[in-house]
Symmetry: C2
Subunit: 140 residues, 2 copies
DNA sequence: TTAGTTGCAAAGGCTTTGCACGCGC
DNA sequence: GCGCGTGCAAAGCCTTTGCAACTAA
């Protein structure tokens, strides 16, 4: 039963052109049970089965799997946080993947058609934030 | 003319219950000209007028002004980045401001009515990411 | 064999913290 | 004068980098 999962993960790694290693299987397996986990948490749980796996290797594994499209990193990559003066209006942002440039997007959520759920899964939502990712004019 | 701006910034600080200091005025003034700047950039420009201002103080200033609602921090606050296995479907996330818990939001952007602009301000957009902020059931 | 991964150690980059001094009010 | 802000130094935290040893194919 677990074997089936391992098989599937193995196949996924293979078809992504990645070698099948214990660390990668561990990461995939753990993210099955704990769907929103960070590198350190995953490492902490992984060492039970893979005592030699280091935190840095876990970062490595996660970066590789993300690059291969098997995982998704929820928060944007680490970089200095920009600040702005425009507050109070719900405009949003488009960020360049290549150079990090930020621009405002006004039009998108004037009336927020799909961004108004006030209660989802027990959460009391107060704000919705939209970030568009792409390439700026210079980097295209 | 510049005096008018300074007056307005002064008033804004006062009405937020914050003391009016040179560092805070500098941050507000610079963000007028450079609307999406990070702490280090702002500091680099600020030292021209305020040679004694340190990077750490600039962080301090920005944190205070953000907490007071005078500024907005565009990227989420520094914390370990969670990973997940769900890729390929455009679901989104709701994050608890208090404990950092993350949950999936499926329904929101099935057809992505407002999230489809493919060209905004010269950017070639490939993905749109929605993050809802609020309080989870436990933290309410 | 050999190209791709891991382990380990160290550094990097942005941000926060602690505490004494100084300035706004 | 009182209390909030600042300056400075240091640490914190997550992540990346470099290189030798290893292992999947």
């Amino acid at each position: 039963m677990d074997d089936i999962v391992v098989e599937a993960d193995t196949a996924a790694l293979r078809s992504a052109g990645l070698k099948v290693t214990r660390g990668r299987l561990a990461a995939l397996r753990l993210l099955q049970r704990m769907p929103h986990s960070d590198a350190e948490t995953l490492h902490r749980h992984a060492v039970t089965d893979e005592p030699t796996l280091s935190v840095q290797s876990m970062h490595n594994v996660l970066t590789d799997l993300t690059r291969a499209g098997l995982l998704r990193r929820i928060e944007p990559e680490r970089s200095p946080a920009p600040y702005e003066r425009r507050v109070g209006d719900n405009h949003h942002h488009v960020v360049c993947r290549s150079c990090g440039a930020v621009a405002d997007v006004d039009c998108v959520v004037g009336h927020a058609p799909c961004l108004t759920p006030s209660d989802v899964g027990g959460f009391a939502i107060d704000t919705a934030e939209v970030v568009f990712w792409g390439l700026c004019a210079n980097c295209r």
